[in-house]
Amino acid sequence: MTGPASLIALDALAERIPDGALLAVPKDESGVAMAASRALVRRAVKELHLLCVPTSGMQADMLIGAGCVGTVECGAVSLDEFGYAPCFRRAAETGAIRVLDSTCPAIYAALQASEKGQPFAPLRGVIGSDVQRHRADWKVIQNPMAEGEDPVLILPAIRPDIALFHAPLADVHGNVWVGNRRELVIMAHAAAATLATVEEIADINLAADERYAAGTISALYVDALAEAEGGARPLGLHGRYGRDDGALRAYAEAARSEDGFQSWLDRHVLSGREAA
């Protein structure tokens, strides 16, 4: 591989995420690095501050259940059609994790501020909600541009330590194609480092093909890449494969109890080795 990104194995990629990292992950169907997340569980990462951009499902639930997460910051964690996220719910109810409740556009705006090197982002709405009341890091100021009284919410920029996602395609220069998954571009721009898994690495230059350029994250943002065919499974990957509903349903049912989750984890994560 030419360019600044290095091509490494899946386990080596997981090694690059230290305990306590502020780790940004995208919502389901945007390219969730499930294979890398299983590698993270196997390496027993601890105390992650998991930033869901702006929500998460099975990935957050599994990492929480496996004891990898200290704080989860999110618009929501849910298994959608398969019901509530059982490990998230349990951990929130017992206080085993800290839930930093946010609202989806606040997560985007705070990352986009970081993307632009802005110290903070204003956001309309939110004021008067309990979401706002419980966020000591958010402030309400008078809109400096308004004549009359006009309170507006101010969010500090969020700069994740690491952005982690799975994409359909990378090229040999380390550029990663994410198509119209703009949230992944924002994550990569905002984060100090980006780790990506991809379905395949092609011997082309994505930056030079104008059909791909708009949906390509430059290699300059990508610190390391790992090839992981099916790396989003059992979640789906746009344009490549659909979600495995059977696997999701089985997870949702197993994870309803602590024991059920542990059995699921033993079988699907801890005893398994990823093809990488």
């Binding site: 995208p26 919502k27 169907e29 945007s30 951009v53 702006p54 929500t55 999110c74 618009g75 929501a76 964690v77 849910s78 959608d80 059609e81 509530y84 996220a85 998230f88 719910r89 929130a92 109810e93 017992t94 206080g95 800290r98 839930v99 409740d101 946010s102 609202t103 989806c104 556009p105 606040a106 985007y108 986009q112 956001l123 309309r124 709405g125 939110v126 004021i127 008067g128 909600s129 309990d130 979401v131 706002q132 419980h134 009359g148 009284e149 006009d150 309170p151 507006v152 119209n180 998954r181 703009r182 949230e183 924002i186 509903d245």
Partner: protein
Amino acid sequence: MAGISRDAFLIAALARLIGDARSVAVGAGSPIPAAAALLAEEASGGRVRPMILGSSLCGPFNDNGPELFDRAGQGRIDVFFLGGGQIDGAGNINLVGTGPYPKPETRFPGSFGSAYLYFMVPRVILFREEHSRRVLVPKVDFISAPGASDVPLERRGGPDALLTGKALFRFSGARRRFGLESVHPGATMDEVRAGCGFEFDCPDAAPETPAPPVEWLALMNGPVRRRVAEVYPAFAETRLGA
């Protein structure tokens, strides 16, 4: 609701609420609102433009995630749908959990974009099929998004209506409370009252929520079912089946 499914009835009721809006957005995990938005488009001959999260054809959100919120911020979305683990009589919704925060008795998924969209979208239609005192509470335990705000807060929108499995309510911004608009066929006024933990303005006799016209049933069984399957295949197959 003779002859039509409960789902079809609710889809039609939501589609009617969309009214003369031009742009209707539907968030994640919302098959019935998605079908309603598509029905409104089909029934209006394309005047109503649905934007459905997760759809590439009925977006199109070329920026994907942030674009729904950005469009709302730009004033380009007229109607949005929200649910609620709890909804109270002042239009507050709770998507976070019951009991004390941050260690709730029952944790819900989270507020999603509600704390923002409830302010930015002129008309938000609340939809929650379960009509019970567990959901329709006197006061929510956690305000994910407030039903009303005191001036001088800039606020372009808020709750417009609340559709449950038994009734349709309209929200009055001036009175900051719901008023009963109609009761669904098969439900009674007593059931509506018994299942509702908050006070609402109530006429002596409420009309019946109208059933969808036959043309709408054809649309639901045809193009709506076909199109909603892009995002909600299981729903389209099992619950909008002919």
